[in-house]
């Protein structure tokens, strides 16, 4: 008995180790695929220029001392600081607009059994299908009429055209998961339907709200064409446009600074992502599964 009792935890630990090993082995290819390019970008960002063009030595290590010059270049010789602030502001405003429109819309579509609701929902989704290659021309008229040409505010107006459809569908799923009983109870307690939405439904669905914000952030950073068409002034550009247009000079690529510029926005967002990931997962789960 005593022997067995002692053996059991040991073998459990062995099993654990084996299980972990299997998982790590299984994860390796994915990590290589996902992380290798990132690692390479990081190394490139820290390298001196002549070190990049050597194929006779291991490219993964530094043959000239690593340097922060590429990062300094970003902040001292370009408007990278402004670009960061612009991107952050754009994303915040876009998120706000998206929430203000998509929350009520998603709620109405999910809960109110409106005639044509289904078709309206599909119509909203369909707007996601229209390619930006043709939309940017008429939209530039709109942007100019609003007096927003060459300011990042133009992008605050335009980006919700793709965040609203996405987040409406996402939130629609969340609201479906909220039990009707909660809402009814709130209404009997004297809340109007709108009050019930604000005070009961929304707080219960906050993972959905966070999910929408995160998506608004990421989607806003994936655009290139709209920002190219609407913003040409350096200090008004968002990060992707600024980096891609001002760190390539004809046939000269400022590789190190390009990579530095990408990592400085990508990594913090990934960290935030991860912090919220648990909420996020319940968020998506709520949205579609239940």
């Amino acid at each position: 008995m005593a022997v067995v009792a002692q053996r059991a935890p040991w073998s459990r630990r062995a099993k654990e180790i084996r299980r972990h090993t299997l998982i790590y082995v299984g994860l390796t290819p994915y990590l290589v695929i996902a992380v290798f390019p990132i690692l390479w970008m990081l190394i490139t960002a820290l390298k001196q220029e002549p070190d990049l063009y050597r194929m006779d030595v291991v490219p993964f290590w530094f043959h000239l001392p690593p340097t922060l010059k590429n990062f300094e270049f970003l902040f001292q010789r370009t408007f990278y600081g402004d670009w960061l602030v612009n991107t952050l502001s754009i994303s915040l405003f876009v998120s706000a607009i998206t929430l203000l429109t998509a929350v009520p819309a998603g709620y109405a579509l999910a809960r109110l059994r409106l005639p044509f609701a289904e078709n309206l929902g599909i119509a909203i989704f369909m707007t996601y299908l229209v390619p930006s290659i043709i939309l940017f021309i008429p939209l530039s008229r709109v942007v100019s009429e609003l007096g927003l040409q060459d300011t990042w505010w133009s992008l605050v107006v335009v980006y919700p055209t793709f965040t609203i459809p996405f987040c409406t569908w996402l939130l629609m799923g969340f609201f479906k998961t909220v039990p009707f009983e909660i809402e009814e109870a709130a209404m009997i307690d004297g809340c109007g339907q709108f009050g019930a939405l604000l005070r009961v439904v929304l707080p219960v669905s906050w993972p959905g709200v966070i999910t929408s914000v995160i998506f608004s952030f990421t989607l806003s950073m994936q655009d290139f064409l709209y920002s190219l068409a609407f913003v040409s002034i350096s200090e008004q550009k968002p990060v992707p446009l600024g980096v891609a247009t001002e760190l390539i000079r004809g046939d000269v690529y400022f590789w190190g600074s390009l990579m530095a510029g990408a990592l400085l926005v990508g990594v913090p967002v990934a960290i935030v992502y991860n912090l919220f990931l648990d909420k996020f997962i319940t968020g998506i789960t709520g949205a579609v599964i239940k």
């Binding site: 994915y30 109110l112 043709i134």
Partner: protein, 327 residues
């Protein structure tokens, strides 16, 4: 769960109308509960519908008009030419190459994303030490702005300084620089298409994995345990329980991702601009080079709208099924 499905479900407004239903007759029509509910509902919908209606709907009609006219960048007031832009697109070889590549790109990338995403989700659903760190690392490709990460890939695919080739060559998997066994990622037709697809996959598979992970964690362990007790094998549990449960997530995720992939210009534009000899030409690059850089707006619009009639019914069908599903 089923009772919550839309359409078939109750709504609070509707249920409230039951106890007060008796008074409904006395009220004028615009104050009846269902009318009030409609008013409330459409008011809630209005901002979103107006926003996308004004900023996408109206421009979309304008682009339809472009596609049916002979407009050029400098002369937007143009003649109506009917479907001529569409038929003239159909006549050119490059257009069909672009259609083929677009389909191969979208479907191929979707399959790869599906495979990598699903398998990764299966790994990440297990509890293990360092799961948070791993999850954080794998989402980075998704959080870096695509326009910049593509430039990173351009550098990694460089015909001369490719770090990929350096690594593969060091491992003895490919030949030395200057030999025919040194792959030119963006130069060989099949390889070029595979490379641009891979960048799309690299960027999106973490997203697929997370979405699926979400789906899997939501399958309650009790159901799986019950199935185990009933003697279901792993494959049976997978097919009969997990797949049906995560299918709706897959659908919405796939629908949005497909549209995003279809209309995404930046990867191909920045890596190959459709070359060499159309090997990676897709509809967005062809439309951009014809309509914007070449100045033939009408034909560019027609090319970029070409998939619309094909996509529309598919999407409507998909979304309707999704919404009606009893899940």
């Amino acid at each position: 769960m089923g009772h919550l499905a839309s359409g078939g479900g109750r709504s609070p407004g509707a249920s409230l109308s039951v106890p007060v239903g008796g008074r409904a007759k006395a009220l004028p029509w615009w104050r009846t509960p269902s009318v009030r509910r409609y008013l409330f509902g459409y008011t809630l919908l209005a901002p979103a519908v107006l926003y996308v209606g004004v900023l996408v709907g109206a421009p979309f009609l304008f682009s339809l008009y472009l596609a049916l006219s002979d407009a050029s960048v400098g002369a937007p007031v143009a003649r109506f030419v009917g479907l001529e832009n569409f038929t003239s697109a159909l006549e050119t070889g490059v257009f069909w190459t672009a259609v083929r590549n677009t389909l191969v790109f979208t479907v191929g990338a979707a399959v790869m994303k599906g495979f990598l995403g699903t398998t990764l989700a299966f790994l990440l659903v297990q509890p293990f030490k360092g799961r948070r760190v791993v999850r954080g690392l794998v989402v980075i490709p998704f959080t870096i702005p695509i326009a910049i990460s593509v430039l990173g890939w351009k550098w990694m695919f460089d015909s001369q300084f490719s770090v990929l080739n350096w690594a593969l060559s060091g491992l003895g998997l490919i030949g030395e620089y200057g030999t025919p066994d040194w792959p030119v990622w963006l130069g060989q037709p099949m390889l070029a298409l595979a490379s641009v697809m891979f960048v799309n996959v690299w960027r999106s598979f973490p997203f697929s994995a997370i979405v699926l992970l979400a789906g899997m964690t939501s399958v309650s362990p009790e159901i799986i345990d019950a199935a185990k007790v009933d003697g279901a094998t792993f494959m049976q549990r997978f097919r009969k329980i997990i797949v049906p449960m995560i299918a709706p997530i897959l659908f919405v995720g796939a629908a949005f991702d497909t549209v995003f992939t279809l209309s995404d210009l930046s990867i191909v534009y920045l890596l190959t601009n459709g070359g060499p000899d159309g090997a990676t030409e897709i509809l967005p690059t062809l439309a951009y080079n014809t309509g914007i850089r070449g100045g033939a707006l009408g034909r560019g619009a027609a090319i970029s709208l070409f998939l619309f009639p094909l996509l529309l019914p598919a999407m409507v069908l998909l979304l309707r099924t999704l919404r009606r599903r009893q899940y």
